[in-house]
Amino acid sequence: MPSLAVWKFASCDGCQLTLLDCEDELLTLAEQVQIAVFAEASSAMVGGPYDVSLVEGSITTPTDEHRIREIREQSGTLVAIGACATAGGIQALRNFADVAEFTSVVYARPDYISTLATSTPPSAHVPVDYELRGCPIDRGQLLDTLAALLVGRKPRLPSATVCTECKRSGVSCVTVTEGIACLGPVTHAGCGALCPRHHRGCYGCFGPAATPNMGAMIPLLRRDGMSGGDVDRAFATFNVADFHADRGAP
């Protein structure tokens, strides 16, 4: 039986929780794969190597820099799950700030705290086979990826934009019909256009699409009522490092 390991780095646990949220499939899945390591869910841990590793979270400590390399060596296929593991997460806001100052704001004794100046995804340290976007990831996409790896096909991971998801599912464009500022044109698909379905503009939690046209996007956001500061903040959330790279110099 193929083995599955679930690993956590700096994160909120929400993406690994997505696996436990597969209430209808969990027991069936456990008959198909050996869940060898999953600390949040099991006290039993089996030694490597592992056929598939799901990695949640970003690398933010010297210990974790070392641990991700060990996990890579032990893993056949390594899948990064969620914005922390594909872009460094919201904690990558430190990459654009002074981490010593950050530490002093939160902790009275910064000298007790060991942390790196940056929050980086596993792919900055080791080769990663697949990346599941999202903050959090989509449950259907996780199940499809596990099923694909079980039968030996490639996972179906969309590379289009949230915009296309609206069009395909017949959701009226919130920008065109209601003038709501929306990051859908530059955001990676995968959520099923969740926010526009709720009369909210996409807020970019799946990160930038493959070739986002930021030059066209930003004037639209300004037209729809965002100030310069609003635009900067809108891109400075869970995928701040990826959007920052796409915008070039701020």
Binding site: D21, I90, Q91, R200, R233, T237
Partner: protein, 436 residues
């Protein structure tokens, strides 16, 4: 995980466990014993810090609900609601009663989901001698399927009101982006009626477990309101009158200890307890008749001070949350407007709510441009850390005759009683026991 090393009692010995499991986040436990008496008991949280309170500075007043949700994937609604409460009170805005009801409904979904997760997936294996729910399912398939169905009902409720269960997208300061239709709410009610039977069966099931003796005498802290407090309330304590939310930080103080990336909080300088035991003890008279009857049948009195029995209290709270959700669903009329408009103003706002694990406090300082200039977040696990360490001391003392493996397992169970959320507190666990 390496197995516990065995050595004869009375001599120096060390127990080491690689990571504490079935808890949310990363931490360790350090216990030193001399002649069977614990000298050092430290809950060592090594979850890497993510600096939320630092990067919240400079953000717009509308952003904390979405940003702070990311502190915890298991209780994001608690973060969203405490943040909204703080900012709305700062802006001097009260939500329409029907929007408050919708917010309480969403929160009921989180209680059902989070409690079912902890009862069935994280905690029950301890009482059944199993490493996880998958193993439990081999002998208790029906019960596990029931737990999964219950958890799923909570998740569906969160999806209906919040758009998704992990980091809901439909919550905003002032209310919601959109509100559900009556037809969707009626369908949800049908699903939840089945969940009520599952919730009642859960109480009877966990009431039959064997509970180690332990009594925690710390003061208890919980919100209290017109109904069993969930989404808001006034601060109440077991010894003496409560205090206003704006005076929270005068009473509950956070200090840093070298062995933890989570700050430790105390109530007027002493350890205290928040969460299901505190809520039950302070507010049990407000539970629904059905939940009260389930509690009585499960052997709970007018207070519960044995943390091992917290699993029963959680199960009772699930009964209440399902009934409460059904009440709100049955009375539902789509609100006149999905949100109340509010204008930012300079000042300081405080907000609280009852996360599944206990009282969650947010404080924001906002300037005249509507930007956050300071943020303080005190999660329940920070508040419970001292109580957890106190319990561990008692458990280690009472269990000094046990072999290392049994003692280690008892310590881990004493920690899981609190359903600790380490991602929240870093704001659990490698275990080292050194006996001398």
């Amino acid at each position: 995980m390496t197995g516990p090393a065995r050595s004869a009692p009375g001599t120096a010995r060390t127990i080491r466990v690689g990571a504490l499991t079935r808890v949310e986040g990363e931490g360790a436990l350090h216990v030193e014993l001399r002649d069977g008496v614990p000298e050092v008991v430290e809950l060592n949280i090594y979850e890497p810090p993510r600096f939320f309170e630092a990067f919240l500075r400079g953000r717009a007043y509308t952003e904390p609900p979405d940003l702070t949700a990311r502190i915890c994937g298991i209780c994001p609604v608690a973060y969203q609601v405490s943040a909204c409460n703080a900012i709305e009170s700062l802006c001097g805005v009260n939500l329409d009663p029907d929007l408050m009801a919708l917010r309480r409904l969403l929160y009921c979904g989180e209680w059902i989901h989070s409690h079912a997760l902890h009862i069935y997936m994280l905690h029950a294996p301890d009482f059944l001698g199993a490493p996880d729910i998958i193993t439990v399912a081999r002998e208790h398939r029906r019960e596990v399927e029931r737990g999964l169905a219950l958890k799923k009902a909570g998740n569906r409720l969160m999806e209906l009101v919040g758009g998704r269960s992990i980091h809901p997208i439909n919550v905003r300061v002032g209310g919601f982006y959109s509100v559900p239709s009556r037809a969707d709410m009626a369908l949800m009610a049908e699903q939840l009626r089945a969940a009520l039977d599952d919730a009642l069966a859960t109480v009877s099931w966990v009431a039959g477990f064997d509970f180690p003796d332990l009594r925690v005498d710390h003061e208890m802290l919980a919100l209290t309101g017109e109904r069993y407090a969930i989404e808001d309330g006034a601060i109440a304590r077991s010894a003496g009158p409560g205090f206003g939310v704006d005076r929270f930080s005068e009473h509950v103080r956070e200090t840093q200890v070298p062995h933890s990336t989570a700050l430790h909080a105390t109530l007027d300088g002493r350890p205290h307890l928040t969460g299901p035991l505190a809520r039950y003890t302070l507010n049990h008279h407000q539970l629904s008749p059905l939940a009260r009857e389930a509690a009585r049948a499960a052997g709970l009195g007018t207070e519960c001070r044995n943390p091992f029995r917290s699993i029963i209290v959680r199960a009772v709270e699930v009964v209440y949350a399902v009934e409460e959700a059904l009440r709100i669903l049955d009375e539902y009329q789509p609100p006149r407007r999905p949100f109340v408009d509010l204008e930012p103003r300079a000042g300081v706002g405080h907000g609280v709510s009852e996360a599944p694990r206990g009282l969650l406090y947010h404080r924001y300082e906002i300037d005249s441009d509507g930007l956050v200039t300071g943020a303080t977040i005190v999660p329940p696990t920070s508040q419970n850390q001292a109580a957890i360490e106190g319990d561990l001391g008692k458990v280690v003392l009472a269990g000094a005759g046990l072999d290392d493996g049994e003692l280690t397992s008892l310590c881990e169970r004493a920690i899981r009683n609190y359903d600790p959320c380490i991602s929240c507190a870093t704001h659990f666990l490698t275990l080292t026991v050194r006996r001398r």
